[in-house]
C-alpha cells in the first residue's frame, strides 16, 4: 500500500489500482510493504499510478527519520514573522508557500508520531 496526500485529499493505493494521475500536496507519503513501512515528507509534485507501479515525482523529499520538529517549528515561525511584517520588499507568494510547507512538515511529524 502507498499512502499519499493528493491535491484533492488523502489517497491509499493498493496493488492493482486503476491508472491514476494526480497532483501531490505537501504532506506525508508512506509506503507499506508487508510489515515494513517507510515514511517520507514530500513538498508537492505529481503522483502516477499504474496497476503494478506507483511513481512519486516530488519537488523535494525527506525521510521521516531526518525530519526535525524544532527545525520545522523554527521555519514556521520565521515564515509567520515574514508574513506579519508587511514590508514592501516582501515576496508574499513565496512567504506563504514557505509557511504552508512548514505547516505541512509539522503535520507530517505529528501524524507519524501518532502512528508509532
Amino acid at each position: 500500500m502507498v499512502y499519499a496526500t493528493g491535491t484533492l485529499g488523502e489517497l491509499g493505493i493498493a496493488p492493482g489500482h486503476t491508472p491514476l494521475l494526480t497532483g501531490l500536496a505537501a504532506g506525508p507519503v508512506r509506503v507499506q510493504n508487508g510489515s515494513e513501512e517507510e515514511a517520507f515528507f514530500c513538498s508537492g509534485g505529481f503522483l502516477e499510478v499504474q496497476p503494478d507501479l506507483v511513481t512519486v515525482l516530488s519537488d523535494t523529499a525527506e525521510r521521516a527519520e531526518s525530519l526535525d520538529e524544532s527545525e520545522a517549528l523554527k521555519a514556521k515561525e520565521v515564515a509567520e514573522q515574514e508574513l506579519a511584517n508587511k514590508d514592501a520588499s516582501l515576496d508574499y507568494a513565496k512567504a506563504s508557500a514557505q509557511l504552508a510547507e512548514a505547516v505541512a512538515r509539522l503535520k507530517t511529524i505529528q501524524k507519524l508520531r501518532k502512528n508509532q
Binding site: L20, L21, F46
Partner: protein, 287 residues
C-alpha cells in the same frame, strides 16, 4: 643568435603560465567530481518523469496536450546550453557548430530560427552571429538553481502556446565520459511519440485528479523544465571535464616548450663561453 638573457626571460614566462594552467587543471578536477555528483543526483528524477510521460503518451487521453501536436513548422526555437567561462577546449564551439548546421537545415525547409540561450558563451556567440535571441540566462554558477531556469523555459513554452514557435530544440553537451563530450540537438516540442507497442492495449486512460488539462499542463511543463535543468547540470559536468583536459594539455605543452628552450639556452651559453675562450687565446697569441 639569441642571447642568454632573452632565452632565460622566455623560460621564466612560460614557467609561470604553466603554473597557472596546472593550478586550473587541479581546480577543474576537483570541481568535476562535484558537478558529476550533481548530475547523477538529478538522473533518477528525470528518468522517472520520462517514464511517466511515455505512459501518458500511450494512454488514450481525453485531453490531447498541445505539446504532442505536430504543427506544420514555420518557426523553431533552440534552447542552447553553454558554459559561462572559456578555456574548456572546443566544447562550446562544437555545440554551436551543430546548432548552426541544424538551423541552416531548417532554414532550407522554410523554418525560421530563434534562440533561448543559457550561459555567457552562447550569449556572446549568438550576439556576434546576429541570431534572433528571445531569452538569456547566464552566470548560473556551478550549482545552478532550477528557479533560475524556469523564467527562460517559460518564455519558450509561452511562445509555443501563442503559436509564435512550432518546434523547440534542446542543444547541450552530453556527458559520455571524462574524455568525451557529445554535442546533442534534441527535439523538445512536439514531444516525440514513443514507438507504440502493438501488444499493449491503448484503450485505457488515467483517472485525473483534478482536471486532465490542468494536471497535464503542470506535469508537461515540469517535464520540460526538468529536461532543461538536467541538460544544464550535465553541461556543467562536461565543462569541468573539458576544462581539465584542456588545461592538462596546456601544461604538457608548456613543459615541452620549456625543455626545448632550456636546450637552446645551454647551446647559447656554451657558444658564448667558447667564443670568450677563443678570444682570450687569440689575444694571448697576439701578445
Amino acid at each position: 643568435m639569441a642571447n642568454t638573457k632573452e632565452v632565460r626571460k622566455q623560460i621564466a614566462s612560460i614557467k609561470s603560465t604553466q603554473k597557472i594552467t596546472s593550478a586550473m587543471e587541479m581546480v577543474a578536477a576537483s570541481k568535476m567530481k562535484k558537478t558529476q555528483d550533481t548530475m547523477l543526483e538529478g538522473r533518477p528524477y528525470s528518468l522517472k518523469i520520462k517514464d511517466v510521460i511515455s505512459h501518458i503518451a500511450l494512454a488514450n487521453s481525453e485531453y490531447p496536450h498541445p505539446f504532442y501536436e505536430e504543427r506544420s513548422p514555420k518557426k523553431a526555437c533552440f534552447i542552447v546550453v553553454s558554459s559561462d567561462k572559456g578555456l574548456c577546449g572546443g566544447l562550446n564551439t562544437n555545440l554551436f557548430k551543430q546548432v548552426i548546421a541544424k538551423s541552416a537545415e531548417l532554414h532550407e525547409q522554410g523554418v525560421e530560427s530563434c534562440f533561448a540561450l543559457i550561459g555567457t558563451k552562447a550569449a556572446g556567440f549568438f550576439k556576434s552571429v546576429g541570431g534572433h535571441v528571445v531569452a538569456v540566462a547566464q552566470k548560473l554558477g556551478d550549482k545552478p538553481n532550477p528557479d533560475d531556469l524556469i523564467g527562460l523555459t517559460k518564455v519558450v513554452l509561452d511562445m509555443h502556446k501563442n503559436g509564435d514557435i512550432d518546434q523547440a530544440y534542446l542543444c547541450a553537451n552530453g556527458f559520455v565520459n571524462t574524455m568525451t563530450q557529445q554535442p546533442n540537438v534534441e527535439q523538445l516540442i512536439p514531444l516525440a511519440p514513443e514507438e507504440q507497442d502493438e501488444s499493449s492495449p491503448s484503450q485505457w486512460d488515467y483517472i485525473y485528479e483534478p482536471e486532465a488539462k490542468e494536471l497535464l499542463e503542470g506535469l508537461l511543463t515540469r517535464y520540460i523544465e526538468s529536461l532543461v535543468y538536467q541538460a544544464v547540470i550535465e553541461n556543467n559536468a562536461c565543462e569541468q571535464a573539458a576544462k581539465m583536459i584542456a588545461m592538462k594539455n596546456a601544461t604538457d605543452n608548456a613543459g615541452d616548450l620549456i625543455k626545448e628552450l632550456e636546450l637552446l639556452y645551454n647551446n647559447v651559453r656554451q657558444a658564448a663561453i667558447t667564443q670568450e675562450l677563443s678570444e682570450i687565446v687569440g689575444g694571448a697569441a697576439a701578445v
